[in-house]
Symmetry: D2
Subunit: 431 residues, 4 copies
């Protein structure tokens, strides 16, 4: 460990040397020309330096130039068409597996190899994650860049596979540099400074777990905050209260996942959340034998938007006349009464479907896809402005029952069945 | 760090659960059917357990069954031909970049995704490296398996890229479990037990550096042994001598790389050696400012084999009449005189070429490819049986001159020029 | 390291067992009776438990009961007088070294052995430091307790000797639990929360070093804050400014020790500060070769108090008529003009003496005792309320010149000479 | 951790500087004069350097000069007699606690302060332990040096108190430098090289635990080797066998302490063994819940020597006529029959007493003092030459029954009662 610290910056030095060795006649080479040189090269010392140089130059580009860079890269380093043509001709001649496989290798966009070579630079992975973040933004303006993003997604998915991730508990003995990042990354219930953080990681009945990747040593990928409790919570305020009294963790029965935050925008679509929750459940079972219930306390971000759309649809929508009438009655800024709110949320979660046939709510999709079930609907659970705007403050407990997870998952994945407790299903209107 | 230790085996537990959840009606499923299930699955808990199960089952197969497994996997999980046909039809309709790129994804052999999913299992990477070792053996019997090996090579190359490797110094404070592996892996000058190892890692003028990958935590990938010296060594015995007197490292001028060993047979063809040497040179320059010369003391494994072939060729070969005569004169077990040995070795290293136009000697190819130059030929440098059999004990110093590395490398890579010192070039016959 | 983590709380468990084994008929024993039992005991398991029990009970006493406890301990566990009488009789019979040495052992107050046995309990050292803090407070009310304090001082001095201390750099990768303590312990220039701390430990031109003892693992004993600069600073504000621009540390010439804080009130009088500064100077010289000047920027806490006393003395004091007149002229809340302030501070630092013949100012005593010299007086250097009240904001640079430290120290220790720069000495009135 | 590594040798540098600053006119000072200077000094930088210098010089002395050094130190740095006389006069005047306590401080031999100051040097503690080893040897020749040894024993006992020790498990991930020391220190059943060590620390049913002190970082103080078993072992060979089959540790019922070795000769008489065993019992109970029995398999080193002495005493000894006759009958190299051996060993362990009224056997004293009981006598348990010479190979199981330890200990300490199982007591002759 010590020894490795000694060398921590050596890779950097090698790159510096490589950079120094890079052709000096390249002073006015464009960054795209440098990418071409990197792809052409065979000398590793040059390669590391050149890769580092490209990453450094990219980071200094303004958004417009980044947009142009992505377009150029996608166009210039696409599939090697003559090579593909040769491979296709081979397949034509002999329609065998060998020829078919060759097509795969022959048709690899050169942008993939470019990304791989950039990844060899010191801190290359970290920079590539940042580049993908920029690419995702660039796609907003130019959807055709999705082709290039397919390369990124493919390679990052391979490099950030589950086997390389490490789960760590974050607590008050964690370095400040990491804790500071946690404060910044919390996306659900904002952490208001160090004192608030301390309440979430250092209280005896609070825990925080994060996934890390070796190439982003001190930068978490995703984390989940856990509260130990004696019963399933119906609202968020008591969990976040400043002056609450911690419970004795040895008496806790319920573990509540009350916040899950993805940290790296550049890894969007590369999923670790499902592994995280299951592994944390394992950890908690091991460390706190008195626990027997694992639930979330989750927002319902798409609820009101969906309701508005349904109302607009009139009788062609999912809502029946009674529901539409009740909703219309409480128009304006006044939220519907809690019972109505709850009943509508059940319809939303269990019955509303997007064009792909999945539940409309993204949080619901995540937990149902993991094999959890809708355990309880909690109206008036979050008084915060965002929650009011999204769902009148309704929150949901999703239950992770290890014995049922696989069955729920299979039913959901294969038949679209949304698992829900009897008490939730009872809230659906009888037909 | 501590926290991560607590969870070290959790991933394992998740896998166990997943395994327990695997369909019980699969009791008599073949291992290949299990691979098909893994490819079909979408439920991660199942997936980890199933992947672990496949890896465990493979490890227990006998060589014959492994051979059969590889064949089946290559055949059964090849390219999805209908999907490829559809992509080709698309390309036919619209010959654009999008369609070309889609061919790449459509033609990916399913075996690649299978390997990726196996890699998510706890310790999956370690097992995949072992599987590749078995595959390389299987290819000996069935060269067609090279297609499957292309998948392994592609993915392992991506996972073991330079950016993920960590250089560590190995010394007497290294855990015994790692040191024991070093003893086992040394492939050039065998380490005869712990006392010999101690001489190589704990003497003040000896160092050993290794590359590690996070997924093979305590198992080195490659290592190099270094001796500090006051001049370039002409033979190996003084370096390995039991009773030698260590020199004061602060007076050392020369760092000698006297042994480089690849540790993982399953990573053959995935190259880290070039990075290793350059990074170790950096480390040594930093830690021992008095050093100004970095050389190897290397074997010449193909020398005698090549000479025999040349003799057989007669006048059509590279040797001239004088050389052939001299060689024939000293036939039998008696080695040629040192001068002749040296002169012939120079011809072998600088002029002999394999069908690909590269130097015949694999060690020469490695160092020349790195940008080193042939600095000195040392006849009678290694009295060991193997060295005698391969090269009558001739050894070579390759010099790593940081200022010339890039130039040498370029000249070698582009024009096949073998860099050599003046004293070496003088040994070539005048034309 | 990992292994040791596994056992970290085992010692605690042994103590728990020991406690459980403690005589149950002792339910109503006083804490002092328990001390007597601890002194009488020979069984280690009991002893650890009993010691732990005494420490726990003491912590819960209110200040009055602590005061009573100290008195009782001092009286009840004093010198074993009959044993001393016997040893004196032996000395009377044979006036030899053996008999004289025996007197030392025979006259050891039993309170010393009591403290030693308490120290064997898990976390005993930590608790003893806290007890000494309480004792120092109790001495305020009952100066006779100084006898008991001599035992504490003797033993803590032995346990906290220089050889057991470890210097660590504190930075942004330090665990939050330690950083939080640093915020609380800073005694000179208060750290206003985490953002202020970040500026002091994470800026490229700021460093913080602390001494730790193995028995107080994550609790610093003393720390020093360092600013890298291009010239000797004349005031504190630019150093602490929120929006300052960090300098490139490779261009720094001056290291400024601008704050030194003792952390453990219970270790008052056990000195580590001198070792700390010298060791940090070494570290800085090693890590920042461009540094050539090591100075403090220090407060002058006793300046105004001394001036008032001198004024009251009239012509019998150190001040001459001119000085007294000038001082009187600027009476009231208005501070004297900077030049006068500086000149008077020089007299105070160089000439004022306490009854023991040492400089009056405690900060001066500390640095002069270390071998530093008074380099420069800075009037109007600290606008803070405390500094204004103590010294009208005058601050001093003490210079640590490694080549002169020993000579300065010897002259100061043997002859009371206060080392000072020529520019400072010039400010003394001519005689 | 990293940070502390950076400074690891800084203390050393400070000492070097101090040494450089030491008076150059001291070139021909004796080592004892240097000690006097160290005692006289007040300047810490000098002090560290001077202390380091004295320790280095001592290490190079030959045994004769060391002997002389100890004598000189004891004589020259004894009690300050005038100071003692003054303190005695004070006591004469006022016979109070204050005066009595002052006598303790006044009579402290200056050698104690000398040892304390030497301890402040870098690695001072380590060197002082080595010096004490030399002192113990010197006492063999000059018993009067026991006075000086009292100082060492007093201070080392204070520095090596239980609260500062750390228990670590030693296994195959332990650095080779520590493992090598374990091989060298094993004093009971020699470890024959690395393969033998591996069997003792890396088998699933074998464990090794050691105590460490922060000042001797990688050098153990004492260690114990543990075998997990299904029943109490009756002989040592199966435990040490090369080719034995490990048992599944989750089925183990018995933990066998089969070897305990003190590592530091210089810490003789400073006892940690009792803490070690109890703490390891705790650790094992925690880690291996199936364990219910904790025993030793111990040698009986004084058995035959005592028997010879008893035989020589004739009827005035402990042996009765029958026993003496039986013993005489099997004179010569032939050992007595096992039954007789066992019966005599019981008499030896339970009834033989040394002049201090304690059991004669040192191993028995250690375990009985810890509160263990004599559980079983095993004749023919150790065929090794040493065991045969000492005890005809008889070994003993001492049982650590946590519920009885305290009671046994008290009975032994207060009344000299040797706890023994019924089966052992039955072997005593009826009266």
């Amino acid at each position: 460990m010590k020894a490795s610290a000694l060398f921590s910056d050596l890779l950097g030095k090698v790159a510096v040397i490589g950079r120094a060795m890079a052709p000096t006649n390249g002073v006015d080479m464009t960054i795209e020309d440098r990418c071409a040189a990197l792809l052409a090269g065979r000398g590793e010392a040059t390669e590391l330096g050149l890769a580092r140089d490209i990453l450094d130059r990219f980071a200094k580009l303004d958004p417009k130039d980044k947009q142009a860079f992505f377009s150029t890269v996608q166009t210039r380093f696409g599939v090697d068409r003559p090579a593909l043509a040769r491979a296709l001709a081979d397949l034509d001649r002999a329609d065998d597996e060998d020829a078919a496989r060759n097509i795969h290798f022959a048709s690899e966009p050169r942008s993939q190899e470019l990304i791989r070579r950039l990844n060899r630079a010191p801190n290359g992975t970290r920079d590539l994650v940042a580049i993908r973040r920029d690419l995702l933004r660039a796609i907003q303006k130019d959807p055709r860049l999705a082709m290039l993003d397919a390369d990124f997604q493919h390679l990052l998915g391979s490099w950030f596979n589950r086997g390389f991730l490490e789960l760590r508990r974050i607590d008050w003995s964690t370095p400040a540099a990491i804790l500071e990042k946690i404060i910044g990354y919390e996306a659900v219930h904002a952490i208001n400074g160090w004192d608030d953080l301390r309440r979430r990681v250092a209280a005896p009945d609070r825990l925080l777990f994060a996934f890390f990747h070796p190439a982003l040593r001190d930068d978490p990928l995703i984390f989940v905050e856990v509260a130990l409790a004696v019963e399933i919570p119906a609202s968020i305020a008591p969990i976040l209260a400043k002056d609450r009294r911690p419970i004795d963790p040895s008496h806790a029965r319920v573990a509540v996942f009350y916040s899950i935050s993805n940290c790296q925008e550049g890894l969007r679509g590369i999923s670790f959340g499902n592994f995280l929750i299951k592994q944390v459940v394992e950890e908690l079972r091991h460390g706190y034998p008195s626990l027997d219930t694992f639930v979330t306390l989750s927002p319902v971000p798409g609820f009101r938007r969906w309701l508005s759309a349904e109302l607009a649809k009139g009788s062609t929508g999912l809502l029946n006349d009674t529901e539409r009438a009740a909703l219309t009655a409480c128009a304006g800024p006044v939220p519907p009464p809690p019972d109505l709110c709850g009943a509508l949320a059940v319809r939303y979660l269990l019955q509303a479907r997007n064009p792909a046939g999945q539940p409309v709510d993204p949080v619901a999709r995540f937990h149902l896809g993991n094999g959890a079930r809708v355990e309880r609907i909690n109206p008036e659970a979050d008084p915060g402005a965002r929650a009011q705007g999204e769902s009148w403050g309704v929150m949901v407990n999703y239950l992770y029952d290890l014995a049922a997870i696989e069955r729920n998952h299979e039913a959901y994945a294969n038949s679209g069945v949304v698992a829900a407790s009897a008490q939730v299903r009872k809230l659906l209107p009888r037909r």
